[in-house]
């Protein structure tokens, strides 16, 4: 039976069919729905790890224990998990390990668009790139077999368009689960130099065998058409090429590390001109050129951003310069905004008024950089805010540096830099915006919520106790809806000659709906616009007065505290 599945649902389906019993990862667009889908199968132990490194390490343990393990993350997550990955290539596996690296060309919701295909090459592990959901399901299933047959972890690299596009998938694959069992083997799994040197040599011979496998792998195939032009392509770009040039010859590469050198060379030899069409970096092109073969690619196809059929057609000259339909570029943009009633809003309002240096982090709260709040100075990667604050404080000698970090992000990678502040005698203030969820990626639970991905009640990580144990003595908890308290606590803590942590705690309204009555603006409004400085989507400016849309207002009362005219009152 064929069913319409997203790439992520298909990956989950393929993993289930492959008999995966342990699946772990950390949320991150565009990968998040893979584990959410897998968590619905009772027979799969699916969990959110605190970060990607831990996820991969758990996956390695599961593999050693004999289970097939799936580990999922977005592209930048693999940076975090890179340390275990590189050595895992040496040890190899017991049960198969498949790592999903979900890249985000075009940065739909990411801080960079790194091309993770290089990780496969750098870590020396095989990589597969699906072009649609059906192939994603098939490849994940295959990848587990390959992982076990070659005793090596496998990366399945997807991109946003594959993860989040839906296409038809044959779902009649049966789940096969293999026996699990642990066997001690220190020479294989203890990577002291003596053992690692041996495994290093073995890895090279595995790669030779994998390169040979790649030559005959069914996913690496030629679709012959006119021999005038031959396209070499992989992933979503394959679909775009087929859409544009249905009559051309195409070498579709699905296993993109190691590459099938003979297949590629023969293909190039049989077409007049070979063109590589690939998103982001010239990963394929550079390798093919390094073999001394004649191809072109990036001279026509941009290496920045997501591709589309139009961009490819323009690059290759099969379409004329685009004529922009008139006028639609000057329309007011519709940027994402913090929701009405978002507990993050008031904190940023206050931070802006206090004119502090605010090192930021990644989550919904990063929207605090946009107008009208505009109160964030940095955003590099998850957890960076705390180290950044310490560095700025040390370099400038200023005390008024605060780090702002979400609860999920703090647990992901904020704990070690906080230890650094304490240990190396920093005095920065760290603000944890504890909205009791991982909101940005769609409200996933995390250790601080005390509920697991499978919905089980667990132990709740107590942030206050944790930061005290690290050695922070000044720890404050306050309600972010109370602007006076927010301001006072921040002012007091930045004055202190010691590290301090402020936890602003209130649940995200997408997790705990508000029952509070909405507010409205009465005739006392004098049009001072102070409430508009909150950037709340429930408040608008009409005929020189503020207006609150009752159906949008959540009754958080943050704007009420700002209004000097008492013009914001309960909606009747």
């Amino acid at each position: 039976m064929k069913v319409l599945l997203s790439g992520n649902e298909a990956i989950a389906h393929g993993a289930h069919a492959a008999g995966v019993t342990i699946a772990t990862g950390y949320p991150g667009t565009p990968s998040t729905e893979i584990l959410e889908t897998l968590s619905r199968y009772e027979e799969v132990d699916a969990s959110w790890a605190p970060n990607e490194k831990v996820a991969l390490e758990v996956g390695i343990g599961a593999s050693l224990g004999g289970a097939r393990a799936l580990v999922t993350m977005k592209h930048v997550g693999l940076n975090v998990a890179a340390d275990p990955l590189f050595t895992l290539a040496y040890t190899g596996v017991n049960g198969g390990i498949v790592i999903i690296s979900a890249d985000d060309p075009g940065m739909h919701s990411s801080q960079n668009e790194q091309d993770n295909r290089y990780y496969a090459k750098a870590a020396k592990v095989p990589m597969f790139e699906p072009s649609d959901s059906e192939e994603a399901a098939f490849l994940v299933d295959e990848a587990f077999k390959i992982s076990e047959n070659f005793d090596i972890p496998v990366i399945v690299r997807t991109t946003t368009r594959v993860n989040h596009s839906k296409s038809l998938v044959d779902v009649d694959i049966e789940r096969v689960v293999k026996e699990t069992g642990y066997e001690k083997n220190a020479k294989k799994y203890v990577m002291i130099p003596a053992n690692a040197k041996e495994r290093r040599r073995l890895l090279e011979s595995k790669l030779d065998a994998l390169a040979e496998f790649s030559e005959g792998f069914s996913g690496n195939r030629v679709e012959w058409g006119s021999r005038h032009i031959g396209f070499i392509t992989s992933g979503i770009s394959y679909q775009y090429v087929k859409e544009l040039y249905p009559d051309a010859s195409v070498l579709k590469l699905t296993m993109t590390y190691p590459l099938p050198r003979r297949l590629i060379s023969e293909f190039i030899g049989q077409v007049d001109e070979a063109i590589v069409v690939e998103e982001l970096d010239p990963y394929l092109e550079d390798q093919i050129k390094a073999w001394g073969l004649q191809v072109t690619g990036k001279q026509y196809i941009p290496n920045i951003g997501e591709l589309s059929p139009d961009i490819i057609a323009l690059g290759l000259g099969s379409k004329d310069e685009e004529v922009e339909p008139s006028g639609e570029d000057e329309l007011p943009a519709r940027p994402p905004v913090l929701c009405a009633g978002c507990p993050h809003r008031g904190v940023f309002y206050v931070l802006r008024r206090l004119k502090l240096i605010v090192t930021g982090d990644i989550g919904c709260y990063t929207l605090g950089v946009l107008p009208p709040l505009e109160s964030m100075d940095t955003c590099i990667c998850m957890g960076a805010s705390i180290g950044n604050a310490m560095g700025i404080q040390k370099a400038t000698g200023r005390k008024d540096v605060v780090a702002v970090i979400g609860d999920s992000t703090f647990i992901h990678s904020g704990i070690t830099p906080l230890i650094d502040i304490v240990y190396n005698q920093g005095v920065s203030t760290v603000i944890i915006l504890d909205n009791r969820t991982t909101a940005m990626t769609g409200q996933q639970d995390h250790p601080g919520t005390g509920t697991t991905l499978k919905g089980a009640e667990s132990r709740e990580l107590n942030l206050e106790k944790l930061v005290r144990a690290i050695g922070v003595e000044s720890v404050r908890v306050a309600d972010p809806y109370n602007l006076k308290a927010v301001k006072q606590v921040i002012k007091e803590e930045i004055e202190k000659e010691e590290p301090s942590v402020i936890i602003f705690r209130r649940a995200c309204l997408l997790v705990e709906k508000s029952n509070a009555a909405p507010f409205a603006v009465n005739e006392k409004c004098n049009g001072c616009k102070v409430c508009l400085k909150l950037g709340c989507p429930a408040i608008s400016w009409e005929d020189n007065k503020a207006v609150i849309e009752p159906s949008q207002c959540t009754g958080c009362e943050v704007c009420v505290q700002l209004c000097k005219k008492d013009a914001i009152v309960k909606y009747q």
Binding site: L4, H108, T160, H164, S165, L168, R334, P336
Partner: protein, 198 residues
């Protein structure tokens, strides 16, 4: 071989029920043995940003994305988004537009104007504009929340698929308590075209 692929673009603002409408549409198309692909962009769009879903169907579909100037139909859940995306419509294509207006943040803050001439600008284009007061019609059906299904019904009038098929997939997808309201909302949307033709 000329491609028989048809392109439908659904645009609006996060939280308007676009995903549900697109899911029903996609399931109905799958049931009719077409090859179907659908592209969505998640992420920041959840926070009140501009949202789009692309659906392509035909004998064989490769790319999941619709290019500018190639959409056969656009359903716009909101006026500004209708204008923003109108360049995706092919010449002579059909734009089904909800008359709803949702102000984006720059407008809410008084830093930008919500264009007052959207309908005129759209009428100047070589497209077929169908304006639908979907929120009002949905209220007639029993709930404003069914506006997405009114718009879907309106589109359905253009596709060669029986009403019963649509009903059966609406039944499967919406909360049980709202099935009747949604079916009614669908019928109202479906009926609009017939009326327009009179």
């Amino acid at each position: 071989m000329a491609s028989d692929v048809k392109n439908i673009l659904i645009v609006g603002v996060g939280g308007q029920g676009i995903i549900l409408a697109a899911d029903v549409l996609a399931q109905v198309l799958v049931s009719t043995e077409y090859d179907v692909k659908m592209a969505e962009v998640h992420g920041m769009s959840q926070r009140g940003g501009s949202v789009n879903t692309m659906i392509r169907f035909g004998t064989k579909v490769y790319s999941p994305v619709i290019e500018k100037g190639k959409a056969d139909y656009i359903i716009a859940f909101e006026q500004l988004e209708a204008l923003r995306w109108s360049g995706y419509l092919k010449p002579g294509g059909t734009l089904i537009m909800n008359s709803e207006k949702i102000k984006p943040l720059p407008v809410l803050l008084g830093n930008a104007e919500y264009p007052a001439d959207i309908v005129e600008r759209l009428k100047q284009k070589n497209i077929d504009l169908i304006e639908v007061e979907a929120d009002k019609l949905a209220e007639e059906a029993g709930s404003k929340k069914a506006a997405n299904i009114v718009l879907l019904g309106c589109l359905a009038g253009f596709l060669p698929i029986g009403k019963e098929v649509w009903h059966s997939y609406i039944e499967r997808r919406v909360p049980p308590k709202t099935i009747e309201i949604n079916k009614k909302a669908f019928d109202i949307g479906y009926g609009l075209l017939v009326k327009a033709a009179d």
